[in-house]
Symmetry: C2
């Protein structure tokens, strides 16, 4: 039995008490919250041996996924879904650990460039097997057609949320 069942039961009660309450969006929103928590906790547990958190991992991987391995704090904030103030703190922490480097931009000196260091690249290579294994496990029960369909629908949902 899924941990979500009691939540669903409570939604049913709520719908009975508030006839205008729309069940479908509410159930989707609560599923997203539960999923996020699971994903976040599992990622933190997997990354613990390397001494980095899930948000720090996201920063590293955004840089890794960029030609040149470098981004500005503002691009990083957008990509990683963090506020810029938070990027400063995460970047500080990753700099302290020697995983990224902070350099001033020449063309526009308001800008800062955050780039993966040699050590950062090496760490990614190190934790990659564990991360891949985690990701594989997380969709192990689903058929490729299902994950593809889920991706399509989540994108549609996200687009809708971005309308506001």
């Amino acid at each position: 039995m899924s941990s979500f069942a009691p939540t669903e039961q409570r939604l049913a009660v709520t719908c009975r008490r508030q006839p205008a309450f729309p069940r479908e969006p509410a159930v989707l929103v609560r599923l997203v919250k539960h999923l996020h928590k699971r994903v976040h906790d599992a990622a933190n547990a997997t990354l613990k041996p390397w001494g980095i958190s899930h948000p720090e991992y996201n920063i590293l991987m955004m840089l890794y996924g960029t030609e040149g391995y470098a981004l500005n704090p503002s691009q990083l904030a957008e990509a990683a879904g963090e506020k810029s103030a938070n990027i400063t703190r995460l970047a500080d922490s990753l700099c302290d650990k020697g995983l990224i480097e902070r350099t001033a931009s020449d063309e526009d000196r308001r800008k800062v460039s955050l780039s993966l260091s040699r050590a950062g690249l090496a760490m990614i290579d190190e934790f990659m097997p564990s991360v891949c294994a985690l990701l594989e496990r997380q969709t192990a029960g689903m058929k490729p057609a299902e994950t593809a369909q889920l991706e399509r629908l989540l994108k549609k949902f996200l687009n809708q949320l971005e309308q506001d």
Copy 2:
């Protein structure tokens, strides 16, 4: 263009650099993160006029969705997806605002009962129109068959995440 496009582009680069990196679970995980952020921010903005946060709203609604309008902190932690230490803090805050009441259980005095107060119920009735409108907007672009399909697939995904 969705804010997700650059993230997707970075995943493509990552897959090229790490052939073992499984794109599909990774894209799903990142979509969940983006969705969660949007949902959380939109809820906070909608609830601001009532002086409560999204996590506080969740606590109130979990109680509202329960016969008798009362739960223990541990049940609430499970239902709302918060750690018990966090429930204490949120409950303190809601008590201070007079929206819930904390009473000791008679049968088992290790337990505490958190119940909606009259004022809490009244506040729910007040913000309900705004919350319903928000929820409606959030799925406005999707057909009922699509949201139903999305719900089904998200539950399957969540079940899989709970296997570990």
